[in-house]
Structures are given as structure tokens and as C-alpha cells.
């Protein structure tokens, strides 16, 4: 059990950072640059963890960041990795999809507390933008997830995975998938939905005051959390994976689409992203819901 959980964490950490490295590299190629090496993000992480100077803003700042990482790890441990396998399941038997949806906001809450307590207005602006954007993001995602739960008559992620053995939800419920996918792009925080940390406007937003090991923890959280979200999408819509290789391929496909979309579209403002998310993917997902 303990080893199982350790493997889950290590895999998420490794693939999270690998994909982040790939994202930087691929984006650079799209821009016509060479970009950093893929392993650069690992080096960054190790460097930051061992950085000499770290600024602390009080116990809530410290606690908030730890809370944020806890939220990401919790989310990950409640999502089973493989379809029909006894391994890499974590604690998914104790929870279900609704629990996972709510655990996903636990990390951002810790984040908000930590950043709020450092007294930097840009941080608070970033958080506010994030929470406002969340209003738009969650609507299509919830519609799609509710559709999937009603169609499968269960909220158990493993059962939803097993039910897809005859056909992926992405193909049997394409409209729900499109709605959830656009929303997923936003959850990944890439352009066009990257208004939260827009450096030109809010000075990196939430990450403004992070330094040293706190920044390292925040980056690890982001890596683990990104992988958890990829995993959830694969499990819900792409039939899960029967082995690790399949998992890597499927998560990579989703990830690469997110990267390409991010490189093609310019950033939405907060208002634009909410309005877009409510008008386009939500309506698509609602139509999908009507066809159930």
C-alpha cells in the first residue's frame, strides 16, 4: 500500500515535470527558438529546493503552501491510475468522482490563503482572477461530468473506466467530451486561459512572492496537479489505460493538444474567458446532456 502510493507520487512528479519541460521546449520550437532542454525543469526544481534564501511571510504563508501541496497530493491519490488493475489505485476506494471534484479545489484554497497572507496585492488579484475564471471553467466541466455520471449510473471512477471497454466516452458522448475538454484546457492554466498569472498585468499573480523552497513546492504542486488533471480526463473520457505505456501515450496526446492550442491562441481577459466558457463549451455540453 505504502509503496503503491509512493510510486503514484513519483510517477506524477516525474511526468508532471517531464511534460512541463516538453511544454517549454515545444513552445520554443513553435516560436522558432531552441528552448531549454527537457530536463531543465527537473534541474530548476532541485535548484529551488536547495536555494539559500527563502522569504517567509508568516505561518499562514508557510501553512498555505503546504496546504496547497496537500490538496494536489490528495486529489492524485483518489484517482486510480490504471483500468482494472489492483495496483496504483491509492485511496480511490474511499472516494468517488464527486470527492475528487471537491478535492481539486482544496489546493487552490490553500494557495489563496498563503498568497492572501503575504500582503501583495498582485497575488490577491491573481487569485481573484482565478476564482472568477473558475465560475466559467467549472460550468462546462460539471455539465460533462454529470452527464458521464448519469450515463454510467455511478460516480465511481474505476467503474466508469471499466464501462468504456466497449467504447470511449469521448466517442459515445462527443459533445460532453468537447465541453469538458475546452474546460480542461482552462484548468491546465495554459493560454488562452492563463489570465491568472499574466506577467505583464499582475506581475506573475499568485506566484509573485514565492521564492526558494516555497517556489519549489509550488512548482511540484503544479506538476503533480497537472498530471492528476490529465489522468482524470483520460479516465473519464479516454477509457483509462491498461498499462503505464498506454497511460503515458494518452496523457501525452491530451497534453500536446493543450500545448498547441495554447501556442495558437492569445490570452483571454477574465471577462472574455468566463463569457466564452459559458457561451461555447457549456452550450455544447448542455446539448450533449440533452442527447443522453
Amino acid at each position: 500500500m505504502f509503496l503503491d502510493i509512493l510510486y503514484m507520487l513519483v510517477l506524477a512528479y516525474f511526468f508532471g515535470f517531464l511534460y512541463y519541460g516538453l511544454y517549454r521546449n515545444i513552445s520554443a520550437r513553435v516560436h522558432g527558438r531552441f528552448g531549454p532542454s527537457i530536463a531543465q525543469s527537473f534541474f530548476d526544481s532541485i535548484k529551488l529546493f536547495s536555494k539559500e534564501n527563502t522569504t517567509n511571510f508568516g505561518w499562514m504563508f508557510y501553512g498555505g503552501i503546504v496546504f496547497m501541496v496537500t490538496g494536489a497530493v490528495m486529489t492524485l491519490l483518489f484517482i486510480p491510475y490504471l483500468n482494472g488493475s489492483k495496483h496504483l489505485v491509492g485511496f480511490s476506494a474511499y472516494g468517488n468522482l464527486i470527492v475528487v471534484l471537491y478535492l481539486m479545489v482544496l489546493g487552490p484554497l490553500g494557495n489563496a490563503m498563503g498568497i492572501g497572507s503575504n500582503g501583495n496585492p498582485f497575488g490577491a488579484m491573481g487569485i481573484t482572477r482565478g476564482l472568477t475564471r473558475l465560475i466559467g471553467l467549472e460550468l462546462p466541466f460539471y455539465i460533462a461530468v454529470i452527464g458521464i455520471m448519469i450515463a454510467n449510473e455511478t460516480a465511481d471512477i474505476s467503474t466508469i473506466m471499466t464501462n468504456q471497454n466497449s467504447g470511449y466516452n469521448a466517442f459515445t458522448h462527443p459533445l460532453l467530451f468537447i465541453g469538458a475538454f475546452i474546460s480542461f484546457l482552462g484548468f491546465m492554466g495554459k493560454s488562452p486561459f492563463d489570465v491568472v498569472g499574466a506577467p505583464q498585468e499582475v506581475y506573475s499573480g499568485p506566484a509573485t512572492e514565492f521564492s526558494g523552497k516555497f517556489f519549489a513546492l509550488a512548482l511540484s504542486q503544479s506538476a503533480i496537479f497537472s498530471f492528476a488533471k490529465l489522468l482524470l480526463m483520460v479516465n473519464l473520457f479516454l477509457g483509462g489505460a491498461s498499462n503505464l505505456l498506454e497511460l503515458v501515450v494518452k496523457t501525452f496526446i491530451l497534453f500536446i493538444v493543450a500545448v498547441f492550442v495554447g501556442n495558437v491562441y492569445a490570452r483571454f481577459t477574465t471577462v472574455q474567458s468566463v463569457e466564452f466558457l459559458v457561451r461555447v463549451p457549456s452550450v455544447i455540453a448542455l446539448v450533449g446532456l440533452a442527447f443522453l
Partner: protein, 551 residues
């Protein structure tokens, strides 16, 4: 004359009343300590609180409709006089006008039921004797009563001003328990006295949608408030909207989810309103734009509020998640997908006002370093700690709630819900283990904290509050660094939310009041109150009465 009897449903609601009143009484005791009898400006309020407490007991334990109605009226009037202590005349008038409306609607329903069934005793009422044509009017009258008391739109107009202007501690009574009288009436009337087989399902589909529309609109209104108490008032409206929605499903899990959310909301609002009352007591301020940065001065109050908002937002690992979970699984089971989407949407938007509440008061930068703070009596912590402890316990043992509700469900004629262990909450459609989530959360938190501590970096504590990254500049004291007012400002520019924020039901009620005023002026012109007219009207009234009696 008074027919009272102890029922599980009454016990449940009276238990909540006890939690609220006993903990607030302790706060009041503490504030009275050391003061002379002549210091009591509002001696009457002690009497009125007692009267209110008794009237709530009468409502919850009544066993006939007349007793219920008397309790209801005493509740409205005693709370009205408490409100007049602090609130403006207009606000108190609004409160009593709406609540008199509720009282009259209840009276109408009671009279109709009584005149056809020939009894007011709950146990003897056979609703089948009431002609079918009257089922709808009776339901409508009861719904108006419930909607006014619980503040469901479009009858919420009195709620916000009253909650804001009432005495700080009394706002918690209003939100935590008085609003629940409406919920009690809903369960009592529709599942016990009338019985839902007599009800038109379509009406309750509309009621469910009214509840959820209320919660969506109130959530956005809450986000845009600058006053702490107004924000909490709108949040109360939103949460009661969920309860009305889920109770309209009329299944065992619907009632259970409604009761669970009632319990959670009572605890959360007791905690939050007392917390806000503490801040107002200390600083004398009620606006986010004037507060901020209080976390390191009042860490315990901050942690209490944090527990409160986690409960309010319904996040695991605390008890607030249980009721949200039951609401979702009930709606999933009934395949009410659109209702569920709306509930989840409103619930996700609520994170923003939860953040505003905690950020505006405790986080960010202090906007005022000059004002001296009053010392807070320790007793102010008691209601908050009670609320927080119960929320944590319910998070760890979610099925404790089910164990509490089962007797009520049995008395309402439902099958009790079976549960395998107190740690696990079974929502029918899905289940989760609260004990595991709580334990895991604590373990992971401690593990990551120890990893973070074990990293031997040099930690530099910041020197002062201006020691922040600020676009390469050093901010000076004249720059406003608190973003408390700004949270939610952007919402006004989002078209579909902006429409909600720009409009209010005020004009609609003003129009109604103008119509009433105009028509009464007209009537007055036709029949001025002269002695002859009064005599004539009395004669007319008795003649009609005679005719009706003869027939």
C-alpha cells in the same frame, strides 16, 4: 389550550435552537459581567430573547395548527422588537410587513385546512377531506409563508437589510435558526400533515427551480458586497435556496440531504456571524475596504473563520462536504441533471465570496494601523468553537448526522437509512469515507510540512508590511495595497452576471407598494372613515355574515 408534543422532528430543530441560544447566552453573560444594573440599556431585549426562544420551542413542538400559528406570530413579533433596537425604522417595518404577510398566509392555510377537516390536531387531520380545488391555494399559501421566512426569491427583500442592521449577535440568530422555521414548516406541512401524495409534482418542480435560481442570484449578489454582514446575508439566502430545492424532491434522500444541510448551515452561520460580530466589536468596522491584515493579531479568529468558510464552501475534509454530497447524489439519483448543474454552478461560484470574506478581513494589507482595538471578551469564542468542533467531528464521522436524522425520517414515515460505519457516508448513488479523507489529509499535511521543515534553507522573515515585490518599486503608506474591495469587481463586466448585479427586486416591491397605496387612497376617497360609513360597513358585514350563516 396549547397542544404540545415531543416529536423527533421537533427535537432536531429545537436541538439546533438550543445550540444557538445557549452559546449566544454565554456571550451575553460575559458582556454583562462587571457591569451595573443601570448599565443595561436594553433590559427589554433579555425578555424578548426569552420570548423568542419560547416561541421557537412552541413552533417546533406544537401538535396542532393553532398552537403553531400562535408560536409563529410570537416569533415574528419578538424578533421584530429585538430588531428595532438597532435597525432603522424602515428596515424594521420591512421586516414586520413581510413577516406579517407570512403570518397571514399561514393563518389562511390553517383556516382552510381546519374548516374542511374539522380539526387542527396534526394527528387527526385527514387532508383527503379537503376538496381538490383547494389543494393548490393551500399549497401556495404555505409556500408563501415558507418563502418569506427562509428568504427565497422573490420574497427575500427583507432579509439583507434586516441581517445587516440588526444587532450583530442577533443576526446570527436570524440566519442560523429563525430562517430554519421556514424549513421546519416545509417538512412538517408537506411530508407530515398534507402528505406529498396530495401535492402537484409540477408545483414542486417550480419550487425546486425557484430555490436554485435564488441560490445562483444570491451567490453573485454576495460576491459584489462590500459589507461583511450583507455578504453573509446573501450567502444565507443562497444556502436556504439549496435546502428548498432538495426538499422539493420529496424522497427519503432528499429530506435527509435537506436536514443535513440545515444542520451544517446552522453551525456555519452561527460561527461566521459571531466571527464577524467579533471583528465589528473589536474594530467597529463592517466593510472589507476598511479592514484587512488582521490575521497575525487575531490568529484564533482567523482559524475559526477558515473552518467556517471550508464548511460553507462544502469542501472535504470538514462536515460541510457531507450535505453537499447528499444533495448531489440525491439529484443524480433522481436524474435531475439540469438542477444539479445549477446547484454545482452556484456552489462553485460561492468559493469567490468565501475568499472575499477571509481575504477582506484577515489577509492582505491592513488599511488602518491607527485605530485602537477593543479587547474581545473570551466568550465570543464559545459559539465559534462549538460550531468548528461539530464541523470537524462531522467531517470525521459523517454518518453521525444520519444517525441523528433517522428517528425523524421514521416519524415522517420513511425507511431509515442504513449505514455500515459512522466513518462512511452512503448517498445511495455513491459513498465516501469521511474518516479516511480526514486522516489522510492530516497525514499528508504533516508529511509535507516535515519535508518543508527538513529543507535547510535560510528563511528570511520579512521586515515590514511593505517588504513585497511591487514591480521593482517600494510601495509607500499612501498606496492602497488591500484588494478587499476589488474581489468580485470584475463580475460586473461579465454580461450575464452584470445583469443580475444591476437589477434588484426593490423596484418590483416598490411598484407593488405604490399600487397598494394608490388603491387604498382610492378606497379612502370613496369610503372615508366617517361614523356613518363605519356604521354602514358594519351593517353590511353583519348582513353578509347572516346570509352566509343561513345558507
Amino acid at each position: 389550550m396549547f397542544n404540545l408534543s415531543v416529536t423527533p422532528l421537533g427535537n432536531l430543530f429545537f436541538g439546533l435552537t438550543l445550540i444557538v441560544f445557549v452559546s449566544l447566552a454565554l456571550v451575553n453573560f460575559a458582556s454583562f459581567r462587571g457591569s451595573k444594573a443601570s448599565d443595561f440599556k436594553n433590559n427589554s431585549s433579555i425578555f424578548l430573547y426569552t420570548l423568542l426562544f419560547i416561541s421557537l420551542g412552541v413552533i417546533f413542538y406544537a401538535s396542532d395548527l393553532i398552537t403553531l400559528f400562535i408560536g409563529w406570530e410570537v416569533m415574528s413579533w419578538s424578533s421584530y422588537f429585538i430588531i428595532t433596537n438597532r435597525a432603522k425604522l424602515k428596515t424594521s417595518q420591512k421586516y414586520i410587513l413581510f413577516n406579517l404577510g407570512a403570518g397571514f398566509a399561514l393563518l389562511g392555510a390553517v383556516v382552510l385546512i381546519y374548516s374542511f377537516t374539522g380539526t387542527a390536531l396534526y394527528s387527526d387531520i385527514a387532508f383527503s377531506k379537503v376538496p381538490t380545488a383547494l389543494h393548490f391555494p393551500i399549497t401556495l399559501l404555505l409556500l408563501i409563508t415558507i418563502f418569506i421566512k427562509s428568504g427565497v426569491m422573490p420574497f427575500h427583500h427583507w432579509v439583507v437589510d434586516t441581517y445587516e442592521e440588526a444587532d450583530n449577535l442577533f443576526s446570527s440568530v436570524l440566519s442560523a435558526i429563525i430562517s430554519k422555521a421556514g424549513i421546519f414548516l416545509f417538512i412538517l406541512m408537506f411530508s407530515q400533515i398534507i402528505g406529498y401524495k396530495f401535492l402537484e409534482p409540477m408545483i414542486f418542480d417550480i419550487v425546486a427551480w425557484l430555490g436554485v435560481i435564488t441560490s445562483v442570484i444570491a451567490t453573485f449578489k454576495a460576491i459584489s458586497q462590500d459589507s461583511m454582514k450583507r455578504l453573509l446575508a446573501y450567502s444565507s439566502i443562497a444556502q436556504l435556496g439549496y435546502i428548498v430545492t432538495i426538499l422539493s424532491i420529496f424522497s427519503v434522500s432528499g429530506i435527509e440531504a435537506g436536514l443535513y444541510h440545515t444542520l451544517i448551515h446552522t453551525l456555519v452561520k452561527l460561527l461566521l456571524f459571531v466571527n464577524v460580530a467579533s471583528i465589528i466589536y473589536i474594530t467597529g468596522k463592517n466593510r472589507f475596504s476598511e479592514l484587512g491584515g488582521l490575521i497575525y493579531r487575531y490568529p484564533i479568529l482567523f482559524i475559526m473563520l477558515l473552518i467556517g468558510i471550508i464548511g460553507l464552501a462544502g469542501m472535504p475534509p470538514l462536515g460541510g462536504f457531507n450535505s453537499k454530497f447528499l444533495i448531489y447524489t440525491t439529484l443524480l439519483e433522481e436524474k435531475k441533471a439540469l438542477l444539479l448543474v445549477a446547484v454545482m454552478f452556484s456552489s462553485a461560484s460561492a468559493f469567490l465570496y468565501c475568499f472575499k470574506l477571509i481575504y477582506g478581513i484577515y489577509l492582505g494589507q491592513s488599511t488602518d494601523e491607527v485605530t485602537e482595538h477593543k479587547e474581545l471578551p473570551t466568550a465570543y469564542y464559545i459559539p465559534q468553537i462549538i460550531g468548528a468542533v461539530i464541523l470537524v467531528v462531522l467531517g470525521l464521522l459523517p454518518s453521525v448526522g444520519i444517525a441523528i436524522f433517522n428517528p425523524t425520517l421514521i416519524s415522517l414515515g420513511f425507511e431509515p437509512t442504513a449505514y455500515s460505519s459512522l466513518f462512511e457516508l452512503n448517498g445511495g448513488f455513491a459513498s465516501f469515507n469521511g474518516g479516511a479523507i480526514m486522516t489522510l489529509f492530516i497525514l499528508i499535511f504533516v508529511a509535507i510540512l516535515s519535508i518543508a521543515f527538513s529543507l535547510k534553507n535560510k528563511i528570511r522573515e520579512r521586515r515590514d508590511r511593505f517588504d513585497i515585490s511591487y514591480c521593482g518599486e517600494t510601495p509607500n503608506p499612501t498606496v492602497n495595497l488591500h484588494y478587499g474591495y476589488g474581489v468580485g469587481e470584475e463580475l460586473r463586466r461579465i454580461s450575464f452576471i452584470g445583469v443580475i448585479l444591476r437589477n434588484s427586486s426593490k423596484e418590483y416591491w416598490e411598484r407593488i407598494s405604490t399600487i397598494v397605496k394608490d388603491s387604498s387612497t382610492l378606497i379612502k376617497k370613496l369610503y372615508g372613515l366617517t361614523v356613518q360609513n363605519i356604521a354602514l360597513l358594519t351593517l353590511l358585514f353583519f348582513t353578509i355574515l347572516l346570509f352566509v350563516g343561513v345558507k
